[in-house]
């Protein structure tokens, strides 16, 4: 994680501040993820709720959970969910992927997006 810290320190623009494990407050990140939890499970092997399971999503190819009927728009998005990509998406998902079925206005605050990404990273094999 040192590389992330270094990257954070080097960046001046707030949207480029990427979450590191060191700054990941477990309670805050879980609270931030409560905005997502009604529609997404995050435990390994968890069920598909309204949206796909998000275990190990960081670093995963977009629209890649087998059997989930992604919108044609997200099927065509074809990106890797890097932390930076998740930051961009979570701020305004419906603007970033017009036509997505995910009815979510977005997390306006960098700190909320950081917290959610922290939580996703913790729920991972990596």
């Amino acid at each position: 994680m040192k590389s992330f810290k270094l990257l954070s320190a080097m960046c001046f623009l707030p949207f480029l501040v990427i979450a590191s494990d060191d700054v990941c407050d477990q309670q805050a990140s879980k609270k931030a993820f409560s905005k997502c939890a009604a529609c997404h499970s995050v435990n390994e092997g968890g069920p598909t709720l309204l949206g796909p399971n998000l275990f190990d999503v960081v670093g995963r190819k977009s629209a890649s959970v087998k059997g989930f009927p992604y919108s044609p728009a997200l099927n065509e998005y074809n990106k890797i969910w890097t932390e930076q990509e998740l930051h961009t998406f979570l701020e305004k998902p419906m603007k970033v992927v017009p036509g997505t079925m995910m009815a979510f206005g977005g997390l306006r605050k960098v700190s909320d997006r950081n917290a959610v990404i922290c939580f996703l990273k913790k729920n991972s094999n990596k």
């Binding site: 009604a38 069920p47 059997g67 074809n78």
Partner: protein, 469 residues
């Protein structure tokens, strides 16, 4: 698919019941797959209207496809877990004055529970900008006196509430031509009673009180036997203990309709040979009849060929008024059970205890997402503290139905004029395409009950028509 498996899959909201083709292009969806199957009926929209219609049609022997845009059934509600409870993010409450849903509840023997606020001990309201806290006896009499004035015309004009145009007349149309706000402004009640009524009209229409028809607002009391307590019992007391998804599972367990999730209808074309449904996954599906059970506010996004009648086009473009917010909020610690009722311009104009847990769970309503970003914890805290100044929020969640492309709104209340000038035409089939849904119901429009009523009626009409095809 065996019933047990179907129930399991729908319960999980899993796409296992879909028939999304797995072959083809990079996105996994064929560019053009002409369905080889022709259906007797394709039901578009898997909310309660569509699920009811698909069940009834398939039980009659009709070859039926239920087409749903989202990855799940249930329409404008879904059950999730919040705190330790199964809770519905959209439509939640129903009552025994709602005959269609109550019959389903009895048929499948589904357990219910009640909102904690039924036993509220602490009432909070606003008087000339000042927060007041009191008892039921200090709150309700003034509110109920205002309701009596507001609902007065219902007794004369709505005594056949399931025949909404029974008393159609010049005077009746006059009630429909004005907004609830205009009617309230003209009532001889106190200023605080006007505030109560504006707030009440705004939660009922889930938008500013000047957006909804006064006449349409009057229905709920008539449908509840002209009894105010019973009206609240029907709209805000009882709910399924395990959420609405349990009813969906049972209804689908009784259905042999094919189900295709994650597939939106984008165009409907009618010709002498039948109806063709075009989907967002480049499929073409053919049917003898269609039940269009998508929400009123999304119908403008579907292309119809030949074009719909001008009244339908205008009404579908106009839509219903429901466009507010609903949010669940868990606050730290035990508190008195509250029922709070602010003015309509507050971020949340109603807030009450839903579960009296060790950390209390509240539900709040507001008329306008612009007034409350439900994803902003600071904004939610500010809205809650207008009623409970010391509340500390542990977590909150509200689903924004307004930005969901397959609802584009919450529950239905009609704008002025729609009931008396467009309702009959909106319900008139266009060729082989029938229109159904909570937004088209005769009685409890805007409720799950109305969805079931409308879905069942349209299914029955088509069952009869299929006998002559």
């Amino acid at each position: 698919m065996k019933r047990r498996n179907f129930i399991k899959n729908v319960a999980l909201g899993v796409a296992g019941v879909t028939a999304i083709p797995s072959s083809a292009n990079s996105s996994g969806v064929p560019l053009h797959s002409n369905s080889r199957k022709d259906y007797d009926v394709v039901v578009i929209g898997g909310g309660f209207a569509g699920v009811t219609a698909a069940r009834d049609l398939s039980q009659s022997g009709a070859k039926t496809l239920l087409l749903e845009a989202r990855p799940r059934l249930g329409g404008r509600t879904f059950t999730s877990t919040f705190g330790d409870h199964k809770m519905d993010m959209g439509g939640t409450w129903f009552g025994w004055g709602q005959p269609n849903i109550w019959a389903e509840k009895l048929k499948y023997n589904l357990p219910i529970t009640e909102s904690a606020a039924i036993n509220a001990t602490s009432f909070v309201w606003y008087d000339k900008g000042q927060r007041k806290v009191g008892t039921a006896d200090e709150y309700w009499p003034e509110v109920y006196e205002a309701y009596d004035k507001f609902y007065e015309p219902a007794f004369k004009y709505l005594n056949r509430p399931y025949e909404p145009l029974f008393h159609d007349s010049k005077e009746f149309r006059a009630l429909d031509s004005i907004s609830a706000r205009e009617a309230i402004d003209a009532l001889e009640v106190s200023e605080i009673q006007k505030d109560f009524l504006r707030s009440f009209a705004s939660i009922n229409g889930h938008s500013s009180s000047d957006k909804s028809s006064y006449l349409d607002q009057l229905r709920w009391l008539a449908l509840s036997g002209f009894n105010k307590d019973f009206m609240w019992a029907n709209i805000g007391q009882y709910k399924f203990k395990n959420g609405t998804s349990e009813l969906i599972e049972h209804m689908m367990g009784d259905s042999s309709a094919e189900v295709k999730l994650g597939t939106a209808c984008i165009k409907i074309k009618q010709s002498d040979s039948g109806v063709t449904i075009f989907t967002n996954r480049n499929e073409e599906i053919k049917a003898k009849f269609v039940i269009m059970a998508a929400p009123l506010n999304v119908l403008k996004d579907i292309q119809f060929s030949p074009a719909l009648s001008p009244i339908k086009q205008k009404s579908f473009k106009q839509g219903h008024t429901g466009s507010g917010v609903k949010i669940y909020i868990k606050i730290k610690g035990k508190h008195p059970i509250i029922y709070a009722n602010g003015t309509e311009d507050m971020a949340l104009n109603y807030l009450w205890t839903e579960y009296d847990d060790d950390d209390q769970i509240l539900v709040g309503f507001g008329k306008d997402p612009e007034k409350l970003d439900v994803y902003d914890d600071d904004a939610v805290l500010k809205a809650v503290q207008e009623y409970l100044p010391n509340a500390e929020i542990l977590e909150s969640f509200g689903y924004d139905w307004n930005i969901d492309p397959y609802s584009k709104g919450t529950w239905c209340m009609y704008p002025p004029g729609m009931l008396t000038t467009a309702f009959e035409e909106m319900n008139r089939p266009e060729g082989a395409v029938h229109f159904a849904g909570s937004d088209f119901a005769y009685g409890w429009r805007g409720f799950i009950d109305g969805a079931i009523e409308s879905g069942a009626r349209n299914a029955q009409i088509i069952i009869e028509k299929l006998k002559n095809v």
